[in-house]
């Protein structure tokens, strides 16, 4: 067989292999013109290379053509009708969203849930700050948004807040001072009451082991001990006590009370 694809054994067929292959599909489908079909058949009958290709193509065509039409399930039509009847509710929304198609690349990223939550938290924080600093959004005017006005407002807010905090802590210190003074006063009152309400013994038992000498008292309150000493000791004991001016006076007082 020559390289050009011509078959020298077929005088009426001036058809190459490439041409045969190009017409193969139409020949199998039967859409070739009678003249072309005759040339095609002639080439196919005499060419050992093209004949198997024709046979395979016809075989494949016949096998696929032999596949029957499949009957769709009976419920499919009703299912499709049910599904498509729900579609119109979403269709207008889709048309409406087409207006924003140009902005979708930008907003598509921004409208993600994580960004949405971040924006919500930022908005909440700003509103909280404005509420704490006493700024009302409805009271804001264009004039208030000038840099000088914003600066003076911020300075004023700073000093007001600082002053408020300072005043609070000073008030707190004053309260502590008052509370401590009241506590001291209460303690002093309680100690006086306990001294006055302490009863005198009827028959005091001498306890020479526990008698304290004036030189033994090393406590920090010598005056109180002296007072208790005079109150607890009987006149007899006082008489035996070392002579001092105070003791004599007290003993005299006791004698006067007894004579009366």
């Amino acid at each position: 067989m020559p390289d050009q694809g011509h078959n020298p054994n077929l005088p009426n067929a001036a058809m190459t292999h490439a041409e045969f292959e190009g017409l193969l599909c139409e020949a199998v489908d039967g859409t070739l013109s009678p003249a072309d079909q005759e040339r095609f058949n002639a080439h196919g009958a005499g060419c050992d290379l093209c004949a198997p290709a024709l046979a395979f193509a016809q075989q494949g065509h016949r096998l696929v053509r032999g596949l029957p039409e499949v009957e769709p399930p009976a419920y499919l039509l009703q299912k499709i009708l049910n599904v498509t009847s729900e579609v119109p509710a979403r269709a207008p929304r889709q048309q409406e969203s087409r207006r924003w198609t140009g902005l979708r690349p930008f907003f598509g990223v921004v409208l993600q849930p994580r960004f949405g939550m971040s924006f919500a938290m930022a908005f909440f924080s700003v509103m909280l700050m404005l509420n704490v600093t006493g700024v009302k959004v409805t009271d804001l005017r264009y004039v208030d948004l000038r840099p000088a006005a914003v600066k003076s407002s911020m300075v004023r807010s700073y000093y007001e807040t600082t002053g408020r905090a300072q005043k609070y802590y000073e008030n707190l210190r004053f309260v502590y001072q008052v509370q401590s003074a009241l506590r001291d006063l209460r303690n002093a009152t309680n100690s006086d009451d306990t001294q006055q309400e302490q009863p005198q013994p009827q028959q005091p038992q001498p306890k020479p082991q526990q008698q304290r000498q004036p030189g033994d008292n090393t406590s920090e309150q010598p005056q109180q001990n002296n007072q208790r000493y005079s109150a607890e000791r009987s006149p007899m004991q006082l008489a035996a006590a070392p002579a001092s001016n105070n003791v004599h006076q007290i003993s005299f007082c006791a004698d006067d009370r007894r004579t009366a």
Binding site: G22, C25, F56, V64, V70, P73, L76
Partner: protein, 174 residues
């Protein structure tokens, strides 16, 4: 609607080889058709071509999505787990009946369907549109968005490869 449902279902079934997938895809095609009905232009082509293009696009998308999940069963594998059951090759080896009679049998149809599923999607869709949907070359070229010469070439290659595939797997058949 009944007419198009039948046509679309057959196209989907022959392309996927699965009745369940064909059902789902048919439903999707109708939903898509219903939503984009306003975009249909009568001057650009027949309604059948438009519907077929929609179906074809959906099938190609489905093919890409399920590429990893697709089964690669050999034609030699028996469809049942029974070891004593005859293989498809043995069934096709029955020479008592002629080729046309074998095509009529259900098992042979399954084998042809399986062989069709082994073709590349480009060849498969061309063969299906031509031999099963009876579309002419110009319509197919419009649907597939390729020249008519390419369509003819794909149809021819698809048929030849299908026949060779079946013959290679089951030598006695052809």
């Amino acid at each position: 609607m009944r007419q198009y449902q039948r046509r679309i279902y057959n196209l989907c079934y022959r392309f996927t080889g699965s009745a369940d997938e064909a059902e789902d895809l048919t439903q999707e095609v109708f939903i898509k058709m219903y939503r984009s009905l306003s975009s249909y232009d009568l001057e650009r082509g027949a309604f059948v071509s438009w519907v077929t293009t929609l179906t074809r696009n959906l099938l190609v998308d489905h093919f890409r999505k399920t590429r990893q999940e697709r089964l690669t069963d050999s034609l030699d594998a028996s469809p049942t787990q029974d070891e004593d059951a005859p293989t498809p090759a043995q069934q096709l080896a029955d020479t008592k009946a002629g080729p046309e009679q074998r095509v009529q049998s259900g098992q042979t149809q399954k084998l042809v369907q399986a062989a069709l599923g082994k073709l590349s999607p480009e060849l498969r869709e061309a063969v299906i549109l031509r031999d099963l949907q009876d579309m002419d070359y110009r319509e197919i070229a419009k649907v597939l968005k390729v020249p008519e010469g390419t369509v003819k070439s794909r149809i021819n290659r698809g048929r030849t490869e299908l026949a060779r595939l079946l013959q290679r797997t089951h030598r006695q058949v052809m």
